[in-house]
């Protein structure tokens, strides 16, 4: 793959050099014609085709990126209780018998928006599974996330309220091509571990998906009744147990929330929003400017048109997310993803906030969706959104 990319890059470079030579009117020795400042028609044809190809690629990759979270649903293997939680023993001390559900979820996290990536639940029988290691390895892209967990004892102290104290060990390793991190310690629930890079690469031609690809591993342990048959659960069910507020607060405390400050200048906001795809946009503008007799003014005109076009693509992506958010027949997970994806827009944050606000106050929307939308609105509302 790297070789193919290198060859492609080399081809592009060669093509660029060729175009640069062609631009110097070496195609023919004929008269320069009525418009001496204009590029030769072959040069214009090549530049127009290359510029148009970049624009088409941007359109295609942006639409693909906007649809990807819905086309590739999170791998969720969660189980949830069907019966109310059991009553805890009245006496202090070690727990002799019990049943628990150990949940481990990987979520991506950006600007207060949480999108589930993968989740699994272990059925823990106590004391049968005392000392047993619950482990899993997940490889999103080039990153490997590995966690191991074991419980050695469970205590109950009545003076601490309706909670249990766990002792055991937990190890989390995250490795990627650029960094490696690991942590080990005791077991506390709920627990959050930072994943700095989820390994999903952003596309140069997409005006979306350039957000930092950080995430978190969420772990929780909840008691269930012995005779509970359990049911398949969703991300919404998982977060309903503790509430969205708690998880987002835990993640914020653990890995922080880097809010993209809405100050500086529009150029800065554009660089932050588009990042590397701005280079593709610049290349397209330079190539298409060669079609004009006055290339400098042509560049300015084309740049303005391309920025408007990028705005239109951003709006299209927003519409895709809006349609998934408002689709009452869609699973809650998908609507939650849409809820989080809405805030990724660069040019229409006001519209996205209004959509989220409408969802938060819509009585027909499911509770997790309303709660999540409300959380995002409250967070985003704290900052300036013109």
């Amino acid at each position: 793959m790297i070789v193919i990319k290198a060859i492609l890059a080399l081809l592009l470079l060669l093509l660029g050099i060729s175009v640069a030579f062609w631009m110097s009117r070496r195609w023919s020795q004929a008269s320069s014609g009525r418009r001496p400042m204009q590029r030769h028609w072959i040069t214009r044809l090549i530049c127009g085709a290359l510029g148009s190809a970049i624009v088409v690629a941007m359109t295609a990759f942006t639409i693909m990126d906007a649809r990807r979270p819905y086309a590739e649903p999170a791998t969720m293997d969660l189980r949830m209780p069907t019966l109310p939680p059991p009553e805890l023993p009245a006496r202090d001390g070690d727990l002799k018998k019990g049943r628990f559900l150990l949940h481990a979820l990987i979520v991506s996290w950006h600007e207060g928006s949480m999108i589930p990536v993968r989740g699994e639940t272990y059925d823990v029988r106590w004391p049968r599974d005392q000392g047993k290691v619950f482990s899993s390895t997940y490889r999103p892209g080039s990153t490997t996330v590995n966690y191991e967990m074991s419980l050695s004892s469970i205590q109950r102290y009545t003076n601490r309220g309706p909670r249990l104290d766990f002792s055991g060990s937990r190890t989390v390793h995250v490795r990627s091509s650029t960094f490696s991190s690991g942590s080990a310690g005791g077991t506390t629930f709920p627990d959050v571990h930072e994943i700095r890079d989820l390994g999903r690469k952003s596309n140069l031609f997409s005006v979306l998906g350039t957000s930092p690809d950080s995430g978190a591993l969420l772990m929780d342990l909840t008691p269930v009744q012995e005779e509970d048959p359990l049911k398949p659960g969703s991300f919404g069910d998982f977060t309903k147990v503790r509430g969205y507020g708690l998880w987002s607060k835990e993640i914020e405390q653990s890995i922080g929330w880097t809010h993209d400050g809405e100050s500086g200048s529009p150029a800065e906001a554009l660089i932050r929003g588009l990042q590397w795809s701005l280079l593709a946009l610049l290349a397209a503008a330079i190539l298409l400017a060669q079609l004009f007799t006055s290339r400098l003014l042509g560049f300015v005109k084309i740049a303005a048109c391309l920025l408007l076009y990028v705005g239109a693509l951003d709006r299209l992506a927003l519409r895709i997310n809006e349609s998934h958010l408002k689709d009452a027949s869609a699973p809650v997970e998908q609507r939650l993803v849409a809820c989080s994806q809405l805030t990724s827009t660069t040019f229409f944050r006001g519209t996205a906030l209004r959509d989220l606000d409408a969802t938060a106050t819509d009585p027909s929307a499911p509770y997790p969706l309303r709660d999540w939308a409300n959380q995002i609105v409250e967070r985003k509302g704290k900052f300036h959104f013109p």
Partner: protein, 270 residues
């Protein structure tokens, strides 16, 4: 004043310099309206660069071509020539700079883009700590333009127009550097613009007045410049000098701007 002559002169100057003017207008349009960079980070480099590009060509184009003596024999007077060139070159530059400053002060690009978008492009420009920098963004390029333009128009030989832009940068840097030093001395390390802005404005006006007077009495330059074989290192040396000047100017600016805050005034017992 004969308007036909003025139109003819304007048309001539436009034909001569439309390349530079188009370049400057395109850069301004891009940096202010299409891709709105903060005016402080855009206007000063843009203005200075534009001034050093257009001032020598507007001021000393006839002298550089060795056709000044012939030009003076044509119907347009020297006054008309001087004023038309100054108006087209300096007037265009100052109009672009003033429009850029106004656009920055009132967030005009954001209002225009706000018709289509509701975020991103509508982010207001962050407030500037020293408001006088907006004035400086207009006056520094105009001072450099005036000095270079007058030096070009007062040039006595065709070879002398080559490095006028360097002279403009140097004198502009000296004027602003001394003004900043005086300001930091008076206001204890703080730049206020109360001296630098008026001094730059005054310098620009004085240079233009002197140039106008000198142009009326100068002897027209005739003959082509001497052909001098230049080594490739010449441009690099000039570039290095300019870079050193820019760095020194920037250092002087930041050194003066980063002075510790004024101590609070002592309280008087009543």
């Amino acid at each position: 004043m004969n308007t036909r002559l003025i139109h003819g002169l304007l048309w001539r100057e436009w034909l001569l310099h439309r390349g530079e003017l188009t370049w400057i207008f395109s850069a301004w349009l891009f940096g202010i309206w299409v891709f709105p960079i903060h005016p402080i980070y855009f206007l000063i480099p843009f203005g200075v660069l534009s001034a050093v590009v257009i001032a020598p060509t507007f001021g000393g184009s006839d002298a550089a071509e060795g056709s000044e003596e012939f030009s003076f024999s044509l119907p347009p007077t020297r006054t008309q020539r001087f004023l038309v060139r100054m108006g087209l070159g300096g007037g265009t530059l100052s109009a672009l700079l003033i429009a850029g400053v106004l656009a920055g002060l009132f967030d005009l690009p954001q209002k225009v883009w706000g018709i289509v978008f509701d975020s991103g492009f509508t982010v207001p420009f962050s407030p500037v700590e020293h408001g006088f920098v907006y004035g400086l963004a207009c006056l520094l390029p105009m001072a450099i333009f005036s000095d270079t333009f007058v030096a070009g128009s007062s040039c006595r030989n065709p070879e002398g127009t080559g490095a006028l832009w360097l002279r403009g940068l140097f004198f502009g840097g000296v004027v602003i550097g001394i003004s900043f030093l005086v300001e930091s001395f008076i206001w204890k390390g703080h730049l206020t613009g109360w001296i630098s802005c008026p001094v730059l404005g005054l310098w620009a006006l004085l240079r233009l007045a002197f140039g106008y007077r000198d142009y009326k009495y100068k002897e027209g330059v005739s003959g082509l410049p001497r052909l001098v074989a230049r080594g490739g290192s010449y441009r690099w040396i000039v570039l290095a000098i300019v870079l050193v000047l820019v760095v020194l100017l920037a250092l002087a600016f930041f050194w003066a701007g980063s002075a510790p805050a004024l101590p609070p005034a002592p309280m008087r017992d009543r």
